[in-house]
């Protein structure tokens, strides 16, 4: 029933993915640490090149040596981004292999679920890197992902196995996929909001977070990244919860029963709803909104670990 060979290849690919992410993280850290070491001069150079046409390097050969020096950290950053794409491809492969090995969607237990959530977060970040000047922040996003995947691959690892009868439903595909996509997306605004708070602190008082603060993108960019990602994730999360209700009606005899997982999902939903409202409330924008977003992600993580591992509820087979 289970193709052991494919499952083994899937696990190896998973391990390789983690290694690639660690390297991507290291490269991003190099760019983050050395990228803007002398901010004022860097800004001046940037202005010169931004203003001129793309052929400026050929026109001014005298400074050829220096741009090379300047872009070294940038090159590391680009390599880090490329590694991230490679990692995502490996990651996707490992999930496909796991799915083929067990002949079902590869999100039937906590190990698979966390792997899929991490993949969504990585892909989200790759898309955001194209739209916003945030590449150098990759390390901060990859850190929680690597931790998640490490825990998933060690403590929470599950052998490839078929599903329990309770999980055999089309709703597993829809409901859990929505939960995975929403959770993976929510990771990014969570991280961006933490960085926003740091940057905000630095903007108000240059003595705070001296080293990190100046190397972060502007607070407005971080805020935009957090908000744009959240407004995509929130409807998907809502959809996931409602699909859960429809499935629960068929499986457990009621669409809502305050099972611990349902309760914490409700709490997270209310927190993210508060985040969206806070942005339309005078005196709550900015820092407070960022805190609410972090709280929302904390609830999401709590729902994954605490509810699955500590409480006993109907969702307990997540580790089965």
């Amino acid at each position: 029933m289970v193709n052991e060979t494919l499952a083994r290849f899937g696990d190896w690919t998973y391990g390789a993915t983690v290694v690639v992410y660690v390297f991507a993280m290291a490269f991003a850290l190099i760019e983050q640490a050395f990228g803007k070491a002398k901010p004022r001069r860097a800004v001046a150079r940037q202005l010169a090149t931004v203003g001129g046409p793309s052929t400026s390097v050929e026109e001014v050969p005298a400074v050829e040596a220096r741009p090379a020096e300047r872009t070294r950290s940038e090159r590391f950053g680009r390599m880090g981004a490329a590694l991230m794409v490679l990692g995502a491809l490996l990651h996707f492969t490992s999930l496909v292999l796991r799915g083929l090995a067990v002949g079902r969607v590869p999100w039937g237990n906590m190990y698979e679920y966390m792997s899929a959530v991490s993949l969504v977060a990585v892909v989200t970040w790759i898309v955001l890197m194209k739209k916003f000047p945030v590449r150098r922040l990759s390390a901060f996003v990859l850190l929680p992902i690597v931790i998640l995947m490490f825990l998933g691959g060690t403590v929470l690892y599950s052998e490839a196995a078929p599903l329990q009868p309770a999980l055999r439903s089309y709703w597993l595909i829809v409901h859990v996929a929505a939960a995975i996509i929403a959770s993976g997306l929510f990771l990014v605004p969570g991280v961006a909001s933490v960085l926003y708070l740091i940057r905000n602190r630095y903007d108000h008082d240059q003595a705070k977070f001296v080293r990190l603060g100046e190397r972060l993108p502007g607070a407005d960019v971080l805020d935009r990244v957090a908000y744009r990602t959240t407004i995509i994730a929130f409807p998907i999360f809502t959809f996931g919860v409602i699909c859960g209700g429809i499935w629960a009606e068929a499986a457990w005899g009621r669409f809502w029963g305050w099972d611990p997982k349902e309760t914490v999902a409700f709490v997270a939903w209310v927190i993210y709803a508060a985040y969206l409202h806070s942005r339309a409330t005078a005196g709550w924008r900015g820092g407070k909104a960022a805190w609410i977003n972090i709280l929302g992600f904390a609830a999401t993580v709590f729902n994954l670990f605490f509810v699955n591992l500590v409480t006993v509820g109907l969702h307990s087979y997540a580790n089965g």
Binding site: R224, A250, T281, G320
Partner: protein, 510 residues
């Protein structure tokens, strides 16, 4: 008084209050995930209170073991609902008004808009206006002429954002009302049915159930009539003990079948409940009922197949008490010295450590019971109800119920008591645990939930934005086209669309 009421209303319906109420709601819901809840597991609540002394009793008094029906939780969501209504009413009026008004006048100085472009083109103003109108198809727009001869188009798009927002919030209200209706008129009942077709369950009244939770307006007299039997129960386990299949093969009669006497069949599985006339039947669990036959000294036999309850959900080691009343004894005093209970554990696949019985697999591979046979007064005649799974321990403590044998029995095995009574373990039956649910409003919950999704999607993804075009004839027969844009929602990312539109309005680069 009036100003006080007005201020209270304003305070309650302000966004800040709504935010605080949302936080309170999240905070108040959390204990339900951390503390045991009566509605989910009453035994756990009792254990928790017993373990935590005054703290447990305090939490109990403060309704922390029934969070979602507590006064404080209800207060928060009712306030939130009032706040929501107070916010929605003026917004709906505003929205209706906005739908009828034309897009706003073109600002005098378009270059002060966040998005702006200006170019001179080789076209007449008429051509430019025509082109702009084409480019802005799908926008709500209005054309105006200014005093100095300039012509403008004001355009606005994204009204669906507010539509979605209102739909979402009204659907939220609708969903809560539908939920409340369900709580009033719905009911749930659980019943154990033997899976050998011997037992017929009819949804005719509360007494047929082992447990029953009526809605506030349900008195149990007007339940949807139907009957069912469980002909057989199919199970399959993987070699690891992981369950692979549960299917209860039902025979049932809906209301119309009750008159004709026909039986329909249905394969009841975990994810596919039986739906009949608005009621739903679910398969919640299963278990074993060991069958015992007691042959009394006078030669009379009694056979019982009382269900035992699983104590281990993985191996299905079960426990229970099968109780017998001796036949042919009219004197109740004497009878109450001769009642018999067979208690102990049952293992579907026996695994013995010495004489200690355990189970190694959930399926019936090698069934065995380890029983204590008790004789004496079971306490079933004193009018007090007792659990079907246990004997009355106080009778044992009083010395009125005594253990007369202890034995491990395989199927067919028997034990003989000192007075000649023989207890025989005949075999095993399966039983299934069914739930019947009725919620007349749940289809409305679904309708509102879908409206919530649509509303929330529209209100978060659609952007409200404005665009203005001003066309001024220039001296040399050319035309100056000025385009300004403003997004009315934060972080809308209007830039790219504006670039494209302003390009289309002017007809590309001149």
């Amino acid at each position: 008084m009036v100003p006080f009421l007005r201020n209270t209303w304003r305070g309650l319906t302000s966004m800040r209050t709504a935010l605080i109420l949302l936080f309170l709601l999240a905070l108040a819901a959390l204990p339900g995930a951390l503390l045991p809840q009566r509605t989910l597991n009453a035994n756990k609540v009792a254990d928790y209170i017993a373990e935590h002394g005054w703290w447990g009793r305090l939490l109990d008094r403060l309704q922390f073991f029934n969070v979602y029906a507590s006064v404080w939780f209800s207060a928060i969501y009712i306030l939130l609902m009032i706040s929501l209504v107070g916010c929605l009413l003026p917004r709906t009026l505003e929205y209706a008004r906005a739908l009828r008004t034309k897009p706003v006048l073109t600002p005098r100085n378009l270059s002060r808009m966040p998005h702006h472009s200006e170019s001179t083109v080789d076209k007449t103003p008429d051509e430019v206006i025509a082109q702009a109108t084409r480019a802005l198809s799908g926008w709500r727009k209005t054309e105006r002429e200014e005093e100095n001869g300039a012509r403008t188009i004001s355009a606005e798009r994204g009204y669906l954002r507010e539509t979605g927002n209102l739909v979402f919030h009204f659907a939220m209200l609708g969903l809560i009302i539908a939920l409340a209706v369900g709580k009033l008129f719905g009911y749930e009942g659980q019943v154990i049915v033997k899976a050998d077709g011997s037992q017929e369950f009819c949804n005719s009244g509360v007494l047929g159930y082992d447990s029953f939770q009526p809605g506030l307006r349900v008195d149990g007299t007007d339940l949807t009539p139907f009957c069912l039997k469980v002909a057989s129960f199919d199970v399959n386990f993987l070699p690891t003990g992981q369950p692979d299949l549960f299917r209860a093969n039902l025979e049932y009669q809906s209301e119309k079948d009750l008159d004709t006497g026909t039986w329909q069949t249905y394969g009841l599985e975990v994810n596919s409940p039986l739906r009949t006339d608005g009621d739903r039947v679910y398969l919640l669990g299963h278990g074993y009922a060991p069958v015992f036959t007691v042959t009394f000294p006078n030669g009379e036999k009694r056979t019982m197949d009382t269900q035992w309850r699983p104590v281990d959900q993985v191996t299905f080691l079960s426990e229970g008490a099968t109780k017998f009343d001796p036949p042919g004894i009219t004197d109740s005093e004497e009878r109450r010295t001769k009642q018999i209970a067979v208690t102990g554990v049952f293992a579907p696949t026996a695994q013995l450590h010495g004489s200690l019985l355990n189970s190694s697999f959930p399926d019936l591979r090698d069934p065995m019971v380890a029983v204590d046979v008790m004789r004496g007064d079971l306490g079933i005649d004193n009018g007090r109800g007792q659990s079907i799974f246990t004997i009355d321990q106080s009778m044992v403590d009083d010395g009125r119920l005594k253990r007369v044998a202890r034995e491990n029995l395989s199927v067919g095995g028997e034990v003989k008591l000192d007075d000649g009574t023989v207890v025989r373990f005949d075999g095993v039956k399966r039983w299934v645990y069914l739930q019947v649910s009725h919620d007349p409003a749940q289809v409305w919950v679904l309708v509102f939930a879908i409206a919530i999704i649509l509303g929330i999607g529209a209100s978060l993804i659609i952007k409200r934005r404005r665009l203005w075009v001003r066309v001024v004839p220039a001296a040399d027969g050319r035309t100056v086209v000025e385009v300004g844009g403003l997004a009315r929602t934060d972080q809308a990312g209007y830039g790219e669309e504006f670039e494209r539109l302003s390009g289309a309005v002017t007809g590309g680069k001149n």
